[in-house]
Amino acid sequence: MFTIRLLEYEAKEVFAEFDLPLVNRLVITRGENVEDKLTQFNFPAIVKSQIAIGSRKKAGLIKIVQTREEGISLCKDYFTRKVGTYEVEAILIESLAEIKHEYYCSIALDTSGRQFVLIASAEGGIDIEEVAATRPEAIIKENISLTEGLKEETARSVAERLGFTGDLVDSASDLFLKLWKITTAKEAQLVEINPLVLTPSGLFAVDGKMILDDNAVFRQTTIQELQKKKLTDLEKTALQFGFSFVELDGQVGILANGAGLTMALLDVLAQHGLAGMNFLDVGGGADRDRVYEALKLIFTMKPKAVLINIYGGITRCDVVADAILHTLNEFPDAPPMVIRLTGTKETEGVKILNDAGIDAYKDMMAAVEKLKGVIG
């Protein structure tokens, strides 16, 4: 499945819904008229591309502009930018904040500790990971019990340890409590503000990020909308059929089951000088339609060859074999396929393929050797 990451402007829409302090902002989405949108906004301002990559500043995708004219031409330029397969989805224009100090705060899921953690630091900004690595004492962490929630006294104590005094203790702890509300209401795995900026008129969330729980999508309707709009066409197909899918740089189309086995397969291919064109975990218990759709999706990428590696547990080799035959009937010009089938109903599956004159390997290394021959 997909991890659902909200871009800054989407996270800030959620922040606004929960009354977190934000500077004046304006969103221009792709296709909107930049001149019209900017007529009411006051400059100087900061122009921030909304694109799913880190270090936007370093990539020149965030800049301060002095005038509206400058803003218009920068926005138009940003909408032409592409980084890898990512495009600039939208542009966020914000008033400049008068920065007295930058803080970091987030609520994050600690998966191995099986709890949420409130994390804060008085040394916010882009180098927070560096701070965590070199001076862990500068990072405050408080575990949050799901049954008790984030307690007000904990939030206040964190605010005080960040060095806030007077009214700022109230506003910081109020902000932490709102982060917790967002975490539970939106079923987030991460709600992050970095930096949280202290200005002469108080605290502002200047950059924000959220990661949502994809397992909760079925009961979070706003997530469903967001998720759909973010994906490439290939990813949409993958989502529709429940595949884990990532596009890679190699020449071999991959259809496998289980994330770990698929990764191990890519590692083995790399050791043999071959590279996968994709990561596709067809998921447990794949039926004929899912295998067919997965192969169809892989074919659209035009691989030199396709490697199918199935170790059936809940997935049945006979079902997979039948689906492969069905797909080959529909796609007579399919690229060469090397097939490895083992596990549940392996004998039946291999027989179905052999009867149709197709080889199937029981051993993964034999399949990889065969693939090397096919690729040449």
Binding site: R114, L190, E192
Partner: protein
């Protein structure tokens, strides 16, 4: 882990396709399936197994003490909750996709009741020749003294099969499951087999992401584990993915790379396998 050939198993979702298919495979393996549960379908019989409406009835009527869950994702939290409330000692959740908030509550509940939970999104557990509580292939391996603990399902089948082919016997095969929050963590499973008298060697199968392998390394050091550990970490060739903001790195002090895990484990004396097929020979050196 908390199961044996004497476990009395109830299958939640026994009337569904997957539930029925795998009930049959488990029966063929010799697992003692005493009951099935599907709401509103009580009174039927599936593969000779009586079906009840609730887990509680299965406990009362058939003495079930272990459960395996095959119900669809959106009903899974409810099924686990029902199993825990009925006092089932070990609940094994095959279904994937349980929301994080639900799992956190279920883990808290299981701990408060002193009950055990494995999964979700797990292939289950196998004590070769004794009991299969899961969906893994039946012919992977035979009984012995090597515990195999894995994050990933199918990759661990590959390795268990390689062990079986090399005539290495397995004391237990455990898949902890692939969902973000798990009823049993890698460290908890490792702890169990580090202390298990029937286990002499532990094979650990990890993958990129999270910090559980690093925590196992810390455990090995803190507890002075002297059983040989053979580890394989998948995902060495994976491109650096999109990371979990900064917070993941701040919590765990690393970003869960394959190399980070390999370094942590080899620093505490674990033997690192280059490929899954190197594992049997490495195990044999310690038998």
């Amino acid at each position: 882990m908390h199961i044996s050939e004497n476990s009395r198993v109830v299958v939640q979702g026994i009337t569904g396709n997957q539930g029925k298919f795998h009930t049959q495979l488990m029966q063929e393996y010799g697992t003692n399936i005493v009951a099935g549960v599907t709401p509103k379908k009580g009174g039927q019989e599936v593969l000779g197994v009586p079906v009840f409406n609730t887990v509680q009835e299965a406990v009362k009527e058939r003495g079930a003490d272990t459960s395996i869950i095959f119900v669809p994702a959106r009903f899974t939290s409810g099924a686990v909750l029902e199993s825990l409330n009925a006092g089932i000692n070990m609940t094994c959740c095959i279904t994937e996709g349980v929301p994080v908030l639900d799992m956190l509550r279920l883990v808290e509940l299981a701990h408060s009741k002193g009950l055990h939970l494995i999964g979700p999104n797990t292939p289950g557990m196998l004590i070769p020749d004794k009991i299969k509580l899961g969906i893994m292939p039946s012919d992977m391996c035979h009984f012995g003294t090597v515990a195999t603990i894995a994050k990933s399902g199918t990759l661990s089948y590959e390795i268990a099969k390689a062990l079986g082919n090399a005539d290495v016997g397995v004391s237990a095969y455990i898949g902890i499951g692939g969902d973000p929050i798990r009823g049993t963590t890698l460290v908890e499973a490792f702890d169990y087999y580090a202390k298990d008298n029937g286990t002499n060697i532990i094979v650990l199968i990890g993958e990129i992401g999270g910090d559980e392998e690093e925590k196992v390394a810390a455990y090995i050091e803190a507890q002075n584990v002297n059983k040989p550990v053979i580890a394989y970490i998948a995902g060495k060739s994976a491109p650096e993915g999109k990371r979990m903001g900064h917070a993941g790195a701040i919590i765990s002090g690393n970003v869960g790379t394959a190399q980070g895990k390999i370094d942590a484990l080899s620093a505490v004396g674990a033997n690192i396998a280059e490929t899954p097929w190197d594992i049997p020979d490495m195990v044999k050196q310690h038998l």
